[in-house]
Symmetry: C2
Subunit: 727 residues, 2 copies
Amino acid sequence: MARHKLLAGAALVASGMLVPHATGNEGKRVWSLGDQLAVPEVRALAIAADGKSAAYVVRIADRESDRTVAILRRVDLANGETRELLRARWIDQLNRIPDTSDWSARIDVGAGVQLYRIGANGETHPIVVHPATAIFGDSEGAVFPGYGHAPLRTGVRAHSWSPDGQRLFYVTVDAELKGKAIRYDGEVTSERARRRSPGQARASIYLREPDGTDTLLATRPQSDLTTFFDRNHVRWEKDEVRYDVMEIGSGGQQKVVTMAWAFADRKARVLDPKVERVYWLLPGPRGGRLSSQGNGDSRDLVETLPGGKTHNYGRFAFAVGDGRAVGGFRSQDGQRAIAGTRMIDDPRFGLAVIEKDRVHTIDTEHSLSHCDFVPTLDHGACIAQGHTTPPAVVAVDVPRGAVERVASVSPLHDGIDPLKIEPRTWVNRHGYKATGYVVWPRGYEKGKRYPAIVVTHGTDGDDRFANRENQWEYPVQLFAERGYFVLLVNDPSSRQNAEIRAAYDAWINETQDLPPETLRQLIWLNGVASYEDAVKELVDAGVIDPARVGIAGYSRGSQMVNVAMTNSHVFRAASSGDGGYLEPALYADVAGSYDAVFGGPPTDPAALVHYRRLSPSLRAGEVCGAILQQVAAPYVPSIDFHAALRKAGVPAQLSLYPGEDAASDETHIFHIPSNRIGAMQENIAWFDYWLLGKRDPGSPFADRYPLWDKMGAAAPRCDAKGKEPDG
Amino acid sequence: MARHKLLAGAALVASGMLVPHATGNEGKRVWSLGDQLAVPEVRALAIAADGKSAAYVVRIADRESDRTVAILRRVDLANGETRELLRARWIDQLNRIPDTSDWSARIDVGAGVQLYRIGANGETHPIVVHPATAIFGDSEGAVFPGYGHAPLRTGVRAHSWSPDGQRLFYVTVDAELKGKAIRYDGEVTSERARRRSPGQARASIYLREPDGTDTLLATRPQSDLTTFFDRNHVRWEKDEVRYDVMEIGSGGQQKVVTMAWAFADRKARVLDPKVERVYWLLPGPRGGRLSSQGNGDSRDLVETLPGGKTHNYGRFAFAVGDGRAVGGFRSQDGQRAIAGTRMIDDPRFGLAVIEKDRVHTIDTEHSLSHCDFVPTLDHGACIAQGHTTPPAVVAVDVPRGAVERVASVSPLHDGIDPLKIEPRTWVNRHGYKATGYVVWPRGYEKGKRYPAIVVTHGTDGDDRFANRENQWEYPVQLFAERGYFVLLVNDPSSRQNAEIRAAYDAWINETQDLPPETLRQLIWLNGVASYEDAVKELVDAGVIDPARVGIAGYSRGSQMVNVAMTNSHVFRAASSGDGGYLEPALYADVAGSYDAVFGGPPTDPAALVHYRRLSPSLRAGEVCGAILQQVAAPYVPSIDFHAALRKAGVPAQLSLYPGEDAASDETHIFHIPSNRIGAMQENIAWFDYWLLGKRDPGSPFADRYPLWDKMGAAAPRCDAKGKEPDG
């Protein structure tokens, strides 16, 4: 049914890419554009207290409504029976309600994002419904921008149950109407980088008590990001609830403070961080906090105890603490902890089970990306997925270290004949390692040379299923179906040695400890060298045609694409998504960061030298290829780069994918299905045209070919060694 | 009644400035803040065909609704009896309907801006009411920005009656919903400078025929600025109607084309401009077009005839063709023309009556700012006004050259005892003349030294009544009541000699014919020299205290204020309104203009030298005074200048006056009465504090004093000669 809808769009059918057809492999079929669009994004998973079932939330594009919808499903862990409980505009913060078989979640079923109880059959009962006046999203008057979702009118920001289910901590938000007040100084300068006029809100922190009464613990200003974003890191103790808030000092410095609210005397106090230290993040079995330390191919797993002493569990080929891995768990008796791991070499996700004197890992062929466990941590449920494994629910037996598949999350994708996708670690000419994957074209024939596209986004090239945080609207799998090699290449690891780590530290901490030239080499040109050398290896092996190589990336990847195109002549076409960091126009909005990278503002002649070496728009004359930029809003830096390219005669296109209405924008990670389909089709048309010289009269971008012809004919000619002056 | 409302605001009463009190002069009173706010802005005037009455439109701030409202009044020219016909959100394009005693106008009475007939008693009857989907104004989705008015939903854009009243030419507009289309390239880059996401519209040009049927003559795209702004310059001929439209060439060049629609065969044709030349602008009695030519203190009045031959009427101390003067008229018999004049030395507005062999002027003590005449041009009605003359309706007897006052436009202001305001022409140290006015403080005492404020806005310092295009929200008259000298100083005239004219030509035509240094000297520093020398003259005369001199200006004046403060140490305080030209961040939006001024973009090291000499934010370290910026939106250049000032330790405030709602902004010329009151009070508080050290606990800005104290204490010290390093 869902697939049927996906096939309904005339433009899609016309382009011929949506019609599934079988491969030789046991009736399985190849990737279609509809498959790319319908890749489910698992957002949350929670196991029932009895361990017999689990619930999870996926977000999936719905073509009919042109929205990304959220779906809540329950899986019987014994037999895999899966039932859809609820479908809504938004579902998150899924929790089991202790001592019941019900769930709670923030849900938008039309009244804004509110807190509901979900019964066994998916029926919803309001727990907290608050007027939804504050907007989170990329719209006019929103209190905070969104990241991949439609503007969300929000009543309830967060919630947490006490372990006995008798108490509920929750946070509501209220927009503050700006009215006609004049705004001054910082209230104005903060809007420099804002596309949309921002709104203001206040948060109220409540405790619902066993008798059902609500007590207001605090109201918090919008500057308290711990309340507005981090859900206060709530920890329930026997006699009190502890939660974090952020205070802003007179000089603007941010400080997280832990509050405790005692149930008996109904008073709040501030916890002394030296005495009453609380480890909510990656707790270890010794009462401390786990982390991975050191540089290189393996890391020390260390628990830092209250007081600062450490215990070293040994050296492992994985790291804990990666934000993309599963979060940390500690058993009720405190004897066992589970931390999510990411392998350093072949970047897949697993679990480390840490007991006082023992560490064992739970590792599968691919990745364990979302997990939850019963309170004893004896068993749990996870989402398993990998490049060639569509997501599935698995049951985990912790003592045995066994993982068993229970149910598919996406039968649609189970029907696809997997592509050949190999993990790789490349060593570039400077000796730096970069991990990644090679996606082989379907039906590869030895001896034939293929076109290729490098796709890059920081270190998101890991073993997950068509992960959009990495591949954005670059339809990697469809490119492989269409005869391209795709190289998913990560940035060289920033922790492989002390030198590159120092460069990243200087960049991230915005120090000016290192000269701009060092950062340029290690953080940008080093990555370009990795892409070039990865391509060269496959060229030398005779499988890639060096005249038909492209590159694509969004956000951090967009930086890298823009730097690659202005420093390398390997790539004949590029697609750069929603980025513009390194452009001079952004200086005032990221001054500290640019001071570290360039040594000062672009109006300082000494720093301008460095901008002219690195800022893509100032190197437009070096480009030897066609550059498409796809953006979610008319960003100034993207516009500047586009204008510079066109001025230099470089074939270039700047495509703005609009929001749902005039008052809102598409988000950095696109959330509007028609935009996603459009962006993928545009990337296909762009690379097919500029790398292969192919035109598809059925493409919705076919009307752009005459302009591309004209730009191509007028472009400065480049040869293999570099750019030659025309004529 | 209206005044009563103006006095109602608590903040205003508390500040003590709204309470009128008498002067010694025959029971007349002094200026109040309410008077400043209530200065009427005359927008249109039309005389009845029989010449016995005239109608006019004024816009006046209405405190109660916090809107600027439009009022239509009719005046009996025989006895001055004035009647209010209509009060609405918007009224413009006032026309008499030929052969009737009714009027027509575009009016917004709640259904958007539509075309109505207005009867003798002010009753309105719809002529054309079209769905008002297109917005003109500074709001989200507007098709064009506004200039001093609330966002106007618009159904009818323009209209014109045939001389016999039998036919009506009119234009409707329809917004085009953008929907979900991807936008490309120029559609994206054009939004770089836009605060609000723009909308799109199409215009439809109609002819209503004698039988009442409507014929669609053409639909026009938004790129046709002649249709969207210039109301097509409609000219009625016996057998056809002629109108202009703008066509855009393939290279983007704009070309105005005249179309003719023949009534008989109902066909449109393009007029050959070489054969069928039509002079709609400043027509002369010989069938040509009038203009003033030459440089210096007097100009040749020239009529350029079809074919290019010219007739010179002689040399006069005025210029015709100034956009602020009355437009041109030609009598039915073609024997007489009337052109509005602006005096070159003492810049007031009058009329030149031009017959084939004779020119005579109609000049009053002050200015004639809006006029209309009966078809013979024998007599007419005008608005007369001057610095010390509130606007009034006057009757003009053209053959006799007589002007007779008929009725007041603003009895409220007639009750004010006029200030002493003298026209001046200053010659600066470089020999350049600048015109302007000196406003004397009320009750000036010889021998005492007074504080002073220079107010500047290009050449808008002319003889009109408290003209807001010149003085913006700087309450010049109230400053004089409070003991300040105010110097209204124009830019040195750009036509006083060939050298400065060449500099302005290079700037305006965006050539790079002259070196940046020449433009900097002649267009910016030359003006600063005029301000300094005007102040010096009054200092030398013993009337101004050199330690208490400020400067204020908006838009072009804001450029000049920012340049003055970063190049001169004469001014201890400044207020800079809604401007930011010359800031590097604006480069991409005004590239041609900046290339002329600076020689290239700021990222070109050779051009950067010139930015560092002239861009205010790059000279923040040179400032010796406190700088307030009042803005209508969070403009990037204003933000950059503010940030640079604060970084340099300069006392600075950036105040954003908000729009009516989250989706719209205040306009460049403020239109929200509460913002106007606020901005004037802020300017009073700012100059009183920084020039006089005065605090008013009742000021709505009193809560800013502690911050000003802190900024003042931390500011780098300056002495008379310049800035000294601290400590």
